[in-house]
């Protein structure tokens, strides 16, 4: 069948790494908490690409099952995280991480 | 499809792609026109149910009304609200229309007319439909107006809630089908000899209600009704952008009708698909010959009515309708004597379109019969009635399947028992909700 060539796993690893690095930069450098959460979702997606690539190269579905669990966890974490952001916003009217400093001395 | 031989002029490397691309072009070209005429049909049916005539001026019996509407919408001024986010304002109707049209890629319109038979075809269509929410949410937000944002958020909340219920209703039919590929689902209905609506009627009901809410149709059309919130997320859109949203809504209606037809109403199978008795002396099955006879009867009725019309143009149109019915009957009858592929293709396409039209007529009928739900009533119905009912239905059907496989009971017996159990749970849910509602009201009233 045309297009059946298997691409070397290195490319998927590098793509996964690129997305992971961008996600890490997003979490560490942005002030807005919502964008930090979205960068975390990006990191989880990078991990999923990695898992799927190796699942394909070993010919098993274990990687895909693990990826499903990662997606499930991402959903749970996003829900709770956004609930926290909403609750905080109702109290303090801000979503910037720098301004969430009430526990500092 | 393997019976159709490709001309040798087409190189082999692109041969698998020619037919799907052709079907894709046909769908994208025909759909806007079809959506326009479904709008006209809706206005005529609404008029009929309200004892009036509907559009009659533009063209004979208003048949050119969609063309006039399209020309008007294309020529309207393109207004963008002040301070609106231009990129999102431009992209939002695009997302709606793209997702609505993309879902047709996995929809089978008959045994010979499907762009791609995916392994996960049903889930693909559900996934693409769930992407259509972004068209609404981004459109409402980008309009920079209170009505739009509120309408968009309400509409998105409604879609997400009823998507879950509709999906669970579908899964109860999937249990019987055993596969996610649309073609194999219809094949399973052929193998079991009956449409799934007779095995899981409650699943069909749940999907019916869920699909009405999915497409923002009455009685769940709060987000876009004219007497509420102006027009919801579509308030600030005018002209061509609005017509894109409109096209997306009607294309979505056809998609959900197609899913319901494939899953519950047997797809392109005729009623009693395995009843093979033939007309004496021929190789034609009785049930295959029936549609042609029915259309001939309708044509005869049209020709009998034609001279009784008051105006000459109406006589002409009635005669034309009769002629169309005769042509359809001839096509259906003629294909009976053609090679198998042609016969299956023509009859399959006819039955599929007939069932889709029947489902759409049910949509229209329900729209003009029931009053609109208030938003909190809508959400309560979705979360506190439909989703628990869908879960109970799913468990009941699963138990019925296992029991019929392990203990050897007849599947009909187990599915009827499952249906009765689910019905009793439904009655209990509805009554307990009502008691809760009256309790809240009396508590507030004190």
């Amino acid at each position: 069948m045309p297009g059946n060539a298997m691409i070397a796993p290195d490319y998927y690893l590098l793509l996964s790494l690129a997305l992971f690095t961008i996600g890490v930069i997003g979490v560490l450098t942005r002030r807005n908490v919502i964008i930090m959460l979205m960068s975390i979702e990006l990191i989880l997606n990078a991990v999923n690409i990695n898992l799927m690539a190796f699942s394909r190269y070993y010919g098993t579905v274990d990687g895909q099952v693990f990826a499903i669990f990662v997606i499930t966890d991402a959903a749970a974490e996003a829900a709770v995280g956004l609930g926290i952001i909403l609750a905080f916003f109702r109290n303090r009217e801000t979503v910037l991480a720098d301004e969430m400093d009430m526990l500092k001395w | 499809m393997s019976h159709l031989t490709m001309p040798h002029l087409i190189p082999t490397s692109i041969q698998p792609y020619v037919l799907p691309v052709l079907w894709g072009v046909v769908i994208v070209a025909v759909l806007p026109l079809l959506a326009g005429y479904i709008v006209l049909l809706e206005r005529k049916v609404m008029a009929d149910m309200q004892a009036r005539l509907g559009p009659m001026r533009v063209g004979p019996h208003g048949l050119l009304q969609p063309i006039a509407d399209a020309v008007k919408l294309l020529l309207k001024e393109d207004i963008i609200p002040h301070d609106a986010d231009r990129l999102m304002f431009w992209v939002a109707p695009l997302i709606s229309v793209t997702m609505a049209l993309l879902a047709y890629a996995a929809m089978p319109f008959g045994p010979a007319f499907q762009i791609a038979d995916l392994n996960v075809g049903l889930l693909f269509i559900l996934a693409i439909s769930s992407l259509g929410i972004y068209g609404i949410v981004l459109g409402g937000w980008a309009s920079n107006s209170h009505y739009s944002l509120l309408g968009a958020l309400r509409s998105a909340a409604q879609l997400v809630s009823y998507e879950t219920a509709a999906g669970l209703g579908l899964v109860s039919a999937l249990l019987l089908a055993g596969s996610l590929s649309m073609r194999e689902i219809v094949q399973a209905q052929y193998d079991q000899g009956e449409w799934f609506v007779f095995s899981v009627p409650i699943g069909f009901f749940i999907y019916l209600v869920g699909s009405i809410a999915e497409t923002n149709r009455a009685p769940f059309d709060l987000p876009e009704a004219e007497s509420e919130l102006v027009a919801g997320y579509m308030t600030e859109y005018s002209g061509f952008r609005w017509s894109l949203y409109f096209l997306a809504e009607y294309a979505n209606m056809i998609i959900v009708a197609g899913i319901a037809t494939t899953l519950f109403l047997g797809g392109w199978l005729r009623p009693f698909p395995r009843f093979n008795d033939r007309l004496p002396g021929t190789s034609v099955e009785i049930l295959d010959a029936l549609p042609s006879l029915v259309f001939l009867g309708v044509a005869a009725y049209c020709f009998w009515l034609a001279p009784k019309q008051p105006v000459k143009i109406q006589k002409l149109v009635m005669g034309l309708v009769g002629g169309l019915c005769v042509a359809l009957a001839a096509a259906l009858a003629g294909s009976l004597f053609a090679p198998d592929a042609v016969r299956l293709g023509v009859h399959g396409g006819f039955w599929f379109m007939a069932k889709v039209m029947a489902y759409l007529y049910a949509f229209l009928w329900i729209r003009f019969t029931f009053p609109r739900y208030r938003f909190d009533q809508l959400m309560r119905l979705g979360w506190r009635f439909l989703i628990p009912l869908a879960l109970v239905n799913l468990i009941a059907v699963a138990v019925a399947l296992v029991v019929s496989q392990e203990w050897g009971w007849h599947p009909r017996v187990t599915t009827i028992l499952a249906t009765l159990a689910t019905l009793s749970v439904a009655v209990w849910l509805a009554s307990s909700d009502e008691k809760h509602e009256t309790a809240i009201r009396t508590a507030d009233g004190e």
Binding site: I35, L82 | S130
Partner: protein, 169 residues
């Protein structure tokens, strides 16, 4: 060029470009839409890796569920002030350099190990033809315990989210 390479190149480019757009946009809604594009490109990569079930699951759950949640919350906490304030915090240069160093380390490791991966021979590494059935089988037989734990996790998250977002506890 084989179709696989073209598809991979297309989806990979879209994913990386959208990811970069996501972390650099000033407008949060544009950021969210860029993340949606990244997730769709990732779903395309899954499809290219013959993972059809995960392709649709990614779209239904991630794009059609989680991102809708994000967009809802963004619209509820939308502040004009956050559009005009400084977008990046004080440690941006140090963080950027550290992340790039981390990335370079992993690139080095991949380059070192490239070609030495002991994969099963090509004719054995064939994915099961019916992907959804295979995933379902594995999920309900071998991985049934994580499945149940995941369902409890989802229940906990549901309760947590409802409690956090209520107006009066």
């Amino acid at each position: 060029m084989a179709l696989s390479y073209i598809l991979f190149a297309f989806f990979a480019t879209v994913a990386v470009v959208s990811a970069i757009l996501m972390v650099t946009r000033r407008n949060i809604v544009h950021s969210a839409v860029s993340l949606i594009t990244t997730l769709l490109a990732t779903a395309g990569i899954f499809l290219q890796l013959r993972g059809e079930f995960l392709f649709v699951v990614q779209i239904i759950l991630y794009v059609g569920g989680i991102m809708v949640l994000f967009v809802f919350v963004i619209m509820l906490v939308n502040l004009d002030i956050s559009l005009r304030s400084v977008q990046f915090n004080r440690q941006k240069w140090v963080a950027g350099v550290l992340a790039l160093v981390l990335g370079a380390q992993v690139v080095f490791a991949v380059w070192l190990g490239s070609g030495t991966l002991r994969l099963p021979p090509r004719h054995l590494a064939v994915m099961p033809a019916r992907n959804t059935e295979a995933v379902g089988q594995a999920l309900f037989s071998q991985y049934i315990l994580p499945f149940e734990i995941a369902s409890v996790l989802l229940l906990v998250a549901m309760i947590g989210a409802v409690v956090m977002a209520k107006r009066r506890v």
